[in-house]
Symmetry: C2
């Protein structure tokens, strides 16, 4: 396996750089050949690295950045006013080929804007998309995109999301001929809005893709599709609604447990089993989201990512880089564009 260099935005998340350094320590063990550039305040990072006995580690470089993007910063503002933010510096390392991928737990809007600005889209790609894996009833995963990078999409853009998602499902999930579905409010052809209907026609016209039709929200987790396509407005609301429901269920189960002495007694055994399932069921908390369609790998970890979550985002970055996902997407988009001509 070739040695890779990954850039980590150490200042982005709600929980500060310490969880990034802890995840780094784990990544150095897990990936004994890869290099990591940690971007952020060098004094603070030096201290944290020293505490982990990682000062002068041969595979760790600290890159100083004088600014930090706040969670409340508007994307346009952060782009203009924070050219030396840890997020931007980490992305520029990818843009300048000093790193193969960037991982950040920072402000999503700022990351998308800066990544789009610094890296640009791949040739032929209209828009980057935010994509995440969600669990399926079978135990497998499916990719959903877009999750919020593009609140409004035309049908060409949604069609490309299907193409890009299918490349990712093949390269990352190992599915030979990924089933692509459009998220809609009904399964029949007449359902939905005009954009969804015309996107369906684009999919139906392509011989290169395994398009299976519309699926509804209640089939998001039912293992009917490997790639589920929607605009960022719908995708964001659908997945966050599920997150809200998972929270409600967890608190409801907690009170059910507390309502009976026998269940209270039982709680230690059972509750922790459930909580593990819960983690699995709040995908955007525990998996990174990939910003795909760009000239480089960018993984967004959740704002309140803990060490596990940030480490999992690093793993994703390694995987996508090893598969050279951007190049695979570029090739596939090119083939599909040629097919359309």
């Amino acid at each position: 396996m070739a040695a890779l260099t990954l850039a980590l935005d150490a200042m982005g998340g709600d929980n500060g750089p310490s969880i990034v350094i802890e995840a780094l320590a784990r990544a150095l063990e897990q990936f004994p050949q890869h290099h990591f550039i940690v971007v952020g305040d060098d004094a603070e990072l030096a201290e944290l690295l020293a505490a982990k006995k990682l000062s002068n580690h041969p595979r760790v470089t600290v890159k100083h950045a004088s600014q930090t993007v706040e969670m409340t910063d508007k994307p346009g503002y952060s782009l203009r006013a924070k050219p030396d933010s840890s997020m931007r510096v980490a992305l520029d390392l990818v843009a300048n080929d000093e790193a193969a991928a960037c991982v950040s737990a920072g402000n999503t809007g700022a990351l998308m804007t800066k990544a789009y600005f610094a890296l640009k889209t791949l040739p032929g790609v209209l828009r980057p998309a935010l994509m995440s894996a969600i669990p399926q009833a079978s135990g497998k995963s499916a990719f959903v995109l877009d999750l919020g990078a593009n609140p409004v999409c035309d049908s060409d853009t949604l069609f490309q999301f299907g193409v890009m998602g299918a490349v990712a499902a093949r390269e990352v999930l190992g599915i030979e001929r990924p089933r692509i579905a459009l998220l809609n409010m009904g399964e029949e052809d007449i359902k939905g809005n005009d954009v969804v209907k015309s996107t369906a026609q684009l999919f139906q016209q392509s011989q290169l893709l395994n398009y299976i039709g519309f699926i509804e929200g209640d089939d998001l987790f039912a293992d009917k599709a490997d790639v589920i396509v929607c605009d960022g407005f719908v995708g964001n609301i659908a997945l966050k609604s599920c997150e809200g429901l998972a929270d409600l269920l967890l608190s409801n189960i907690r009170s059910n447990i507390n309502a009976h002495w026998l269940t209270r007694w039982f709680v230690k055994l059972f509750y922790h089993r459930l909580q593990r399932s819960w983690d699995w069921l709040k995908p955007d908390h525990y998996n990174g989201a990939s910003l795909i369609g760009l000239r480089g790998v960018v993984i967004k970890s959740h704002g309140d990512a803990n060490t596990d979550a940030f480490f999992s985002a690093i793993q994703q970055a390694v995987e996508e880089t090893q598969q050279d996902l951007p190049a695979r997407i570029r090739d596939r988009v090119e083939s599909v564009l040629l097919e359309q001509d």
Copy 2:
């Protein structure tokens, strides 16, 4: 309490007329003053009523209808080809003032189309909306609309949904000054699409409404708003996604339970407690959805409604009729339109 007459579409749901007759039997006890017109195949209904000892019940009338709308019928087709369907006949009873409300577990698209055609919208109301109550962490409920009657909405329509939902929250949920929120992919003003942004401006300009701003999907169940407004495409997908997640969680918990002898032993006590919570958490299965904005009360029960669910839809119909929800909505829409002039 004044005596009401309600029309029940007996043939609509997946489970046939027997659950409707069972729900009717319960409603006759619960509401000793109200009358019910049961619409469907009279031979089949006579047999079911006889089995329940309800033949010649003084408060039950059977109205024959020779056709049945199938779940697979397209709305336009059912409107044209099935003028004597149980659904249409039940709606016509409301249109002709022979009944105050109609309850159906039939094909949602057909019901919306037929109801719109037969009843028309209230003066000033642009579009009817499908509205349902969803549970909140506090144990209270909030109304969400639209859930699929209108895949595409302009901002005037979304604004009116807020007005209508607030009337319903006041009359049905008893909330003096209901908090209205717009479902969006972020809480900041700059987030979302143009329709959501211009709808927010309409709400901000009204002195009559208690508009609280945008909420995100993860706050759907967090008791932040009493009325949550979105277009039918987003609302349908968000709530169905939650339904899909609830199914996944239930099966996941089932396998967690089966994975350990102690939890298996425990299952009888705990699983049934959970299952009750689950029922509560799949609102469209266990509550009816109201089609509001029309000149009459129309309640849609879930296609696979059981007796409990259909009875709950009848209760909702009684409640909305007693509050004269259509007249309250008409008055409020008028006030708001005057305010806008």
